[in-house]
Amino acid sequence: MGIVVYYSFLTRGPWGTVIHEFTLDSYRLILDPLFLKIFARSVKLAVLAVVICLLAGYLIAYWIAFYGGKRKNFLMFLVILPFWTSYLVRIYAWIALLSDHGLINNFLIEVHLIYAPLPLLHNEFSVLVGLVYTYLPFMILPLYASLERLDRSVLEAASDLGATARERFFRVTLPLTKGGMLSGSVLVFAPAIGEFLIPELLGGAKAMMIGKFIALKFIGLRHWPLGSTYSLMLLTMTLILLYLYMRIGGGKEAYQEQR
């Protein structure tokens, strides 16, 4: 029990510390236009990442769940595996691919499709690629789980009642996997919005995100109160999101069980 107390102390103690650090000055700076701009860009990129992950993740999860056959477990294993490898190295790999002398530009120049390197790195595009690449497994897992749970006889019933494949997908499969789509979206959005390393390495100055901004305040400028205020905001947002998700998700599951 002593350890238990010790542990809860570790996770909770810091917040108290953060609260002691702030004065109202830092809060006024939340309205700083530069911060608001960066915040808006972070939200935009995180939402885009969610949308792309949702589309791509659904494709993969659907294919594995319905056509995976005996290889289902192995395929899901392949999906999870990158998640356990060094995240730093995976992001670094994208620098090697996208930079001006990177693999993609070199290849395109060599085959004479382009003559000057395309600006692939250090912009919002590269950050978005990094976000989707890093968090795609987070989307696939819950989607796969909900597609697996989907009662196949419901699909058969839909077909028997004359639904075309498309109708069946949009009116039966999609609504019944809403829960998985919701969990996946939260799991991608929450880390994506606070991402530090991806904008740091792939973003450059043009694609600053809130996470990098906070880190800059902390490490670069050593402006701890302001950095704390911003990170507290980020945390609050994440927790609100999670709370909403649990409310909606919980309600939905109860509803599904009733049926």
């Binding site: 542990y7 294919w63 002398h101 693999l103």
Partner: protein, 258 residues
């Protein structure tokens, strides 16, 4: 495949799998060839690996990484086991709240964890260094080990424990002779999965490591800031491949039935 999948769906998925694996493969392939950049394969070499092994900074960083990761795995697996027991077996006031607190770090942005820990350590006047890195790693791996061990616990047949008690074993003996051996694969899996978490962590370590001590990821990060190089490719390959072997073993153990 027992059904023929629509061709478009299949092509889309293959494309996405390539998207997921190509970057890592590129790093691995180009760590084995002498060219610095370029799309051509110019023969096989291990000289970049030699350069990695000879690099004093990398050696130092590896030492710090292992000094952190090994004790971290041992301690957090132990704490995770105890926590799992507490959460699963006993009913106490605030149990649900406590369970919630345990899972929060799993979804909290790493950046926020890093900053909170940094503020915490400086406010209790703990000097940043290997010790703070270790403490930080222990605190973020505990949720993982707890989760993995609880998952295993839920699959244990409780009648076995009841049988032991009926046959006259006291609670302590039952735990030692029945529950723990049954849990062993789960505990081992938790340890094997916690290792790469600790070993690979960058963001949290970045905040809580002082000037003097850098783990391998921190070292790689400062090398990356200087640009792409085959030495990083080689080092990256090693960092990816070695912990991965542990993970594969860990996941296989986790899957195995009781």
């Amino acid at each position: 495949m027992n059904q023929t999948s629509p061709r478009l769906l299949f092509i889309g998925c293959m494309f996405l799998f390539v998207f997921m694996y190509a970057p890592l493969l590129v790093v691995i392939v180009f760590s084995l060839t002498p060219t610095e950049y370029g799309v051509s394969w110019e023969g096989f070499t291990l000289k970049w690996y030699q350069a990695v092994l000879d690099n004093k900074n990398i050696q130092a960083a590896l030492k710090v990484s292992l000094m952190v990761a090994i004790p971290c795995v041992l301690i957090s697996t132990a704490i995770g086991t105890i926590t799992a027991f507490t959460l699963y077996r006993s009913r106490f006031f605030g149990r649900a709240l406590y369970q919630g607190i345990i899972y929060i770090p799993l979804i909290m942005p790493d950046l926020v964890i890093g900053i909170s820990l940094l503020l915490f350590y400086t406010s209790i006047k703990l000097e940043l260094g290997v010790l703070t890195i270790l403490l930080a790693h222990i605190s973020f791996t505990i949720p993982l080990t707890t989760l993995v061990i609880i998952a295993r616990m839920q699959r244990i047949d409780r009648t076995l424990e009841d049988a032991a008690m009926d046959l006259g074993a006291d609670e302590w003996t039952t735990m030692r002779k029945v529950t723990l051996p049954l849990l062993k694969p789960g505990i081992l899996a938790a340890a094997l999965l916690a290792f790469p978490w600790s070993f690979n962590d960058f963001v949290i370590t970045f905040f809580v490591s002082g000037v003097g001590s850098s783990t391998l990821p921190i070292r790689v990060y400062s090398m990356i800031r200087l640009g792409v190089s085959p030495v990083i490719n080689a080092l990256g390959t090693l960092i990816v491949v070695i912990p991965l072997i542990l993970v594969v073993i860990g996941l296989l153990l986790e899957r195995r039935r009781v």
